[in-house]
Structure formats: C-alpha cells, structure tokens
C-alpha cells in the first residue's frame, strides 16, 4: 500500500475551505457565511485518481502567518513544525475570487516556507455577476504554482484539484519573495547563527509572539540575542514585509485580474444600509428574534403532540406484547419513558438550529456583531461575543469553542464564563413542559402568553450573562490591548443543502448525546425506583389495601374517579343518541357500575405503586434531599430530577417521566402525568405557578452540564474557572428560586 498524501487546506476565513473539504472527502463538516466557523483541525480521506489516497486536513481560516488569535495559531503551529504528524506534503491555499488580492498574501507566505502549494480560486460561480475575469495561465506562471478554478456550489473544478493533488511532486517549491530585503543585516546575522535553518521560518518563529502569545510548542529555540530587537521594531519589520508582499501581488494582478465594474451588481450596499441602520437595524434584529420564538411555539406543537402520543402508545404496546417481567418493565417504564422525554423536543430544537444556521449562512451574523460591538464593550465583551451568546442558545459547547475568534484574552475569558447563562436547547424541554403546565393560555398582542414567557426566559438568560460580564469586567485585573477587526462577508442566499446538513447533524448529536446519558440515568433510576429493602416496600399492597378500607381513597383519587365517571356517562349517552338508540336504564347503571369498579381498581393500583415508590431506594434518597428542595416548592421527586440533571439539564423531564411511570400503573403522556401530581400537604397541583416559576428560574441560572464544564476547563486550561462557574451559578440559582417561590406561594 502506498503512503497517503498529506494535504492541508489553508486560506483566509470564509473562503470556502470547509466546503472544499466536504467536496473532497464526502464528509459534512459545518459550513457558514461567517469568518471563523471552523476553529479546530478536522481530518478526512479523499480518493484520488489512479488509486492514490490523500489525507485531508481542514484548518481554521487565517489572514496571514502572523497570528492574532487562537484559532489562527493552529495553522502556524502546524506549518512551523516539520515533525508534526500532520505536517503537509502539499498545502492547498483556498482563495475567494472576489478577494483574491488579500488571499494571495497568505499564499506567498506559505510559498516562502518552501512547501509545495496548489492555489484554489473558489466561488467561480460569482465571477459573472461581479464582472471578474482572470488570466489563469499568467497567474500560474507568475505565482509559480498550479491553479484550480473551483466552485463548490456548482461542483466544478474539483476533479482538476484532485488531479493536481495526485501530481503534487511536480509542483515547484521555490519561494515567491525574498523576505530578507526588509532588513538585510538582521537576516545575515540570523543566517550566520543558524546555517541549517530556513530564514523565513526562523523569522516567523521569532515574530510569533509579537501580536499574540500562546504558541505552545516552539519548534526551534532561538537564543535570546535575536529577541534583542524590541517588539515594536519587529512589528515594523512585519509591516514592511506586508507591504513588500502586496507590491508583488499588485504587480501580478494588474495584468491577470480584471473587474468590470459596470457588470458588477450586488444588493450588498442596499441591504447593509437597512440591516446596519441605527434604528431599523436593531428593530429588524429584534423582530427576527421575536419571530423565531413564535415559530418555535406555533409550528412545532403538532409534531410534538404526535411524538408524545407515539411514546405513550409505544410503552403501552411493549407492556401488552412482551411477556410481563422485570425486563419489560425496564423497557416500558425506564427506557421508553426516559427517551420519550427528550425525543419529544426534537421539533423545537430542530427549528432553533434551523434559524441559527440561516442567520449564519446568509451573512447576517457579522452585521449583528457590528451593531452590538459598542453596546457590549461596557460589559467587558466584544461584538464578537454576540455570536457565542446567540449560538449558545443551541448549545454552550460549540459556543465556547466559537470564542476562539476573539482576539482579546480578557474579552474571550469573560465570554466563556458567561456563555452558559444563555438559554441552551437542553433547557428548552424543561421550560416548555413547565410553561405548558403553569402558564395560562391566552394572547397578548397576538403573541401567546406561553411564547412570551419563553422569550422572557431567553432575555433573562441573556441579561444574566451581560450582568455577570459587567461584574467580571470590574473585578478581573487582566491587562490586554483591545483590538478588533471583523470582516463583513457578502450576503449569500443560504444553500439549502448546507443548512439542512447543519440542522440534521446538530439535532442528531443532541439526541444521541442526550440519549446516552438519559438511557443510563433512566436505567439506574428505574432500578432504584422499583427496588427497596424495607417491610413497607415489600408489603405495600397490603398496607395500602388496609388504608383504603379504613380511610378510603385520597381526596384527589376520589375526585378523579368521580369526574371520569361523569365523563364516561356523558360519552355513553352521546354515542347512543348519535346512533338513535334509546338507552335502557338498567343497561346504563350496569355499565356505569362496571366502569366504577374498573376505576376503583385503577386508583388502588395507582396508590400501591406510588406507595411502593415512596419506600423504594429512590424514595428514601429523595426524602433525604427533600428538606433542601422543599423551600423551593419541590417535592422529593422533583428534587431527584433536579439532582440528576446536574449531569445534563434535559435529563429533568426524562427523570420525572421515569419516576412517574414507575409510580403509576397507567401509561399516559408525560404532561398529563405531571399535571395530575398533587402536593400531599396542600392537596393542590404540585406544578403550580409558584413552584413552576421557581423551577424555571433555577434552570435559567444553574450550571448543570458536565460537558460544558469540561470544555471550559479545556479552553481556559485550568480547573479554576469551571469550578467557579459551577459554584456561583448554582448557588445563585438556588437563592433566586428560593426567593421567587417564597414570594409567589
């Protein structure tokens, strides 16, 4: 077997590197019209002509090899280290035909590292409408490279690119520009000290930390004497180098690149005028957000009701079909109930992902950054913090990764620390079910109260993030230079395929990720809930029977039976009347009596089951934590659900579903079960306005997500920050929920 060719895709942000990567490898990495979608290395395999294979590396975008932010440094670290296992045999520089000049800067730098380079000029489909014409042969000659003119949207040019990669050995690897002319003496000295090293590479290593610190592995150790040049001197030289490169590029493009301005048309100017307008800009942003919430509510209720029913029937079916026993119970009560608790939220979560993907693909996101930058600054945040805060509404994990594009470490750290306050999709299941239970129906200005409550919760999360950012900004003493440059990409019609993949992939990973945790927790809970050791647990049936004989049913069950019976009678009479029968008195009493016995049996089973649950291992554990959660208005079951959701928030609904399912004899929808719960002391529904609001607030603020803590640890490189997050956020959540309940009850 021949060795794989190692290929690295390099280029400015937003030029289509990931799109080319996806075309070459058939993978579906995320693509978006926002500079800085890719912040980590991604790998894939590509089949080339003649049975050759290539190992393709997708990299974050960078404007040059002089890095200023963490995502950019990934590229430089790779190119400076020949021993890196991913060090490329050939670099493919992806450029955007509309910004060719700027893109070529990076190209010449990589060329000067003496790595074989192929130039991809992407977005060829846009040449016509922008009036661009190219002389490819001339460009190839002057740049001393091979060029593939590609459009990933149309799928053209990819075959040529594959051909070029397969023949990479024939590429020239001589440099474009002699950098040493910017400071001949300095470079002479360097050469004398390191006769075996490449000068341009040395220069890059020396200047790496001028703009940005943490390059972790320094491949060559440079004696201190070469750092004698002060930072500002080095910076001046870097500027000289940049000008030199642009002179070279301009000389070439003058001949080979023509733009016919008359042919160029674009809605960019008009769209920008409106979308970044002082007043309309904000208004539109606000309306878009509002529309998203209304849509999440109105559009997804139908599929949700359907899924809810499906799982209820599914559990019923399993119980009826499989032989009765422990295993069947586990499936029906433990697993199905738990999973159903999450699957039901797929429609809403998919809608949320859809809207975020649309905002990113259209190019609107950068405009939001522009609008928000000044407003965010007093809070120690940057306009670029808005993107993590918005994409945090899907999930905090990619959001925290997205902070890598923020150049300023303090702004970045604050963004990382406050992002978990934004309402992520894992909170959505909890919010939705509680809102449905405790917030009345009704509309205000055409928007339902429930949608408004949801919107308020989102604003609350956002407000908490901003507020804590402000405090952090005050107390953190980190000195960094502020410096902000944001490219504003052209507007693009979102590509349905890209958006579709993004939504599909994200939804899938949400369900699978949550599914795994929920599966495990459901099984454990089910076991703890259906086993016990005390006499009370084993003799539950007798004890309850005795209690019913002496004290009768609980009030709640009595009422319940009565109302079911009346409903049954009404239904019976209706259907008889419909079919034209006159109902015979005797028959009616008979069937009512049968129904009553049936209902009594049901109620009895229900009471036995819940008595058993209370005395199971789980019940005992729950009672132990009850004093802690009681002041918040929760019973022990909710307490258990809150506790388990410290692993992941979405577990809450699944846990309650499992608990109620074990604790009842009937399969019913999750919502019905929850609304039927009553507080044993007050005899009122357990989920009322006070306890509901208390739960909502707790979930709004508490830090309940292991994965987020892990990612914060990784991105800040210390346990200090995630620990602080966990403690402060959860304590704060407890206090707020406590106050809310005590006031409202």
């Amino acid at each position: 077997m021949s060795k794989q060719i190692k290929v690295a895709l390099i280029g400015n942000p937003n030029t289509g590197k990931t799109s080319v990567f996806n075309q070459l490898t058939g993978l579906k990495q995320k693509v978006g019209n926002y500079p800085g979608i890719t912040v980590e290395k991604k790998e894939g395999i590509c089949k080339l002509p003649r049975g050759v294979k290539a190992h393709i590396l997708d990299l974050p975008g960078t404007y040059s090899l002089n890095t200023t932010s963490l995502d950019e440094s990934v590229v430089v670290e790779l190119l400076l280290n020949k021993n890196d296992k991913d060090y490329p045999d050939v670099a493919v520089v992806i450029s955007d035909v509309e910004n060719l000049k700027r893109n070529l800067l990076l190209f010449t730098q990589i060329k000067d590292l003496k790595i074989p380079v192929i130039l991809v000029i992407n977005m060829a489909d846009r040449m016509n409408r922008k009036g661009i014409s190219l002389d490819i042969d001339l460009l190839e000659e002057k740049l001393d490279t091979k060029i593939a003119l590609v459009s990933t949207r149309k799928g053209t040019g990819i075959d040529r690119l594959k051909e070029l990669i397969a023949n990479y050995k024939s590429l020239s690897s001589s440099p474009n520009i002699d950098t040493t002319v910017i400071a001949p003496e300095y470079f002479d000295k360097l050469k004398a000290t390191f006769p075996n090293e490449d000068l341009y590479k040395l220069w890059l290593v020396i200047t790496q930390d001028v703009n940005f610190m943490p390059i972790e592995k320094n491949p060559i150790s440079i004696p201190a004497s070469f750092k004698t040049k002060s930072k500002s001197e080095l910076k001046r030289l870097q500027q000289k180098e940049t000008i030199l490169r642009y002179q070279f590029i301009n000389g070439i493009l003058k001949q080979a690149y023509k733009v016919d301005l008359n042919a160029a048309k674009g809605l960019r100017a008009t769209a920008d005028k409106i979308l970044t307008h002082k007043i309309f800009g904000y208004l539109i942003f606000f309306l878009i957000l509002l529309a998203i919430f209304q849509a999440i509510y109105d559009w997804s209720s139908y599929p949700m009701d359907f899924i809810d029913e499906l799982f209820a029937t599914g559990s019923e079916w399993v119980k009826d079909t499989l032989p009765p026993g422990v295993f069947t119970d586990l499936i029906a009560e433990g697993i199905l109930a738990g999973i159903g608790g999450v699957v039901i939220f797929i429609p809403q979560i998919a809608f949320l992902f859809l809207f975020i993907a649309l905002l990113e693909e259209s190019g609107y996101m950068s405009r939001v950054v522009f609008l928000m930058d000044r407003l965010m600054r007093p809070f120690g945040l940057s306009g670029k913090s808005v993107v993590p805060l918005i994409s945090g509404t899907a999930c905090a994990i990619p959001a925290i990764m997205a902070t890598r594009t923020i150049e300023n470490w303090k702004e970045r750290l604050i963004t990382i620390l406050v992002t978990p306050f934004t309402t992520c999709s894992a909170r959505l299941p909890v919010y939705l079910i509680i809102i449905a239970l405790v917030i009345p129906d009704g509309r205000f200005l055409g928007l339902s109260y429930q949608a408004l409550t949801l919107m308020l919760l989102y604003l609350l999360g956002f407000g908490a993030a901003i507020f804590s950012a402000m405090i952090l900004n005050k107390i953190m003493k980190i000195k960094t230079k502020t410096f902000f440059v944001m490219e504003m990409p052209n507007y693009k019609l979102p590509l349905l395929k890209n958006v579709g993949y993004t939504v599909l992939e994200k939804t899938k990973s949400f369900v699978l990720g949550a599914g795994k945790i929920i599966l495990a927790i459901s099984i454990i809970l089910w076991f703890l809930g259906s086993n016990g050791y005390s006499d009370d647990f084993y003799n539950a049936e007798e004890i309850v029977n005795q209690k019913i004989e002496t004290e009768g049913f609980t009030d709640f069950n009595l009422q319940n039976m009565e109302s079911s019976l009346t409903a049954y009678q009404a239904a019976l009479q209706d259907s008889m009347a419909l079919q034209g029968y006159e109902l015979d008195k005797q028959a009616l009493t008979d069937s009512l009596r049968t129904k009553a016995t049936e209902l009594r049996q049901k109620a009895k089973n229900q009471e036995v089951a819940s008595y058993k649950l209370e005395n199971s291992y789980m019940g005992l554990a729950g009672k132990a934590i009850a004093p802690l959660v009681h002041p918040l208005g929760y019973d022990w079951k909710i307490g258990i659900a809150v506790l388990t959701s410290f692993a992941a928030r979405e577990v809450f609904v699944g846990t309650l579903a499992t608990i109620y399912s074990v604790g009842s004899d009937e399969e019913d929808t999750i919502k019905n079960r929850m609304s039927a719960e009553i507080d044993p002391v007050t005899k009122k529904p357990l989920f009322n306005l006070a306890s509901g609001i208390s739960i909502l607030l707790f979930y709004a603020f508490a830090m309940q997500c292991m994965s987020t803590l892990a990612i914060v640890k990784r991105e800040t490189n210390s346990w200090k920050w995630p620990t602080a997050q966990l403690v402060f956020m959860s304590l704060f959540a407890y206090i707020v929920a406590l106050i809310a309940y005590q006031i409202l009850k």
Partner: protein
Amino acid sequence: MATTVAQLKRGQRGIIKEFADGVLPVKLMEMGCLPGNEITLVQVAPLKDPIYINCNGTHIAIRRSVASLIELEIIEDSPL
C-alpha cells in the same frame, strides 16, 4: 491636525497616507489597509462606533480607536 478615517462621513472616500511605523495592527495591513489604497466609509454603528469601511474591496468593521490611527487624504468629489 491630520484627517483620519475616524473623521470620514458616510459615503466619503479617502486615500491612505503613509503612516508612522508600528502604530497600526499588522492584521489591518494584511487585510489591505496600506498606504495609497482607497478607503470608503460604508456605515457607522449607533453611538458612532465601530465603523464599517470598504478598503480596496475588503469590507471590514473596525473600532474608532483604531480608525483614528489611519491618516488619509479625503477625495473631494465623493460620493460616487
């Protein structure tokens, strides 16, 4: 006092003058803000900051503090 990008009005254009060494972030230059190139002010965000410029075909947003470091010669016949 010299005119800088921070003083441009919407739609106004100017040519970047030579600037003092080492003041501007290198990244800006890499994006095309070099002496001799033309800058158009596209849009100013509310509260006058940041500003949105078109420099030689590259559309970027920068903060006012950085913009006030870029000196230029205003082209009078603007706009269009």
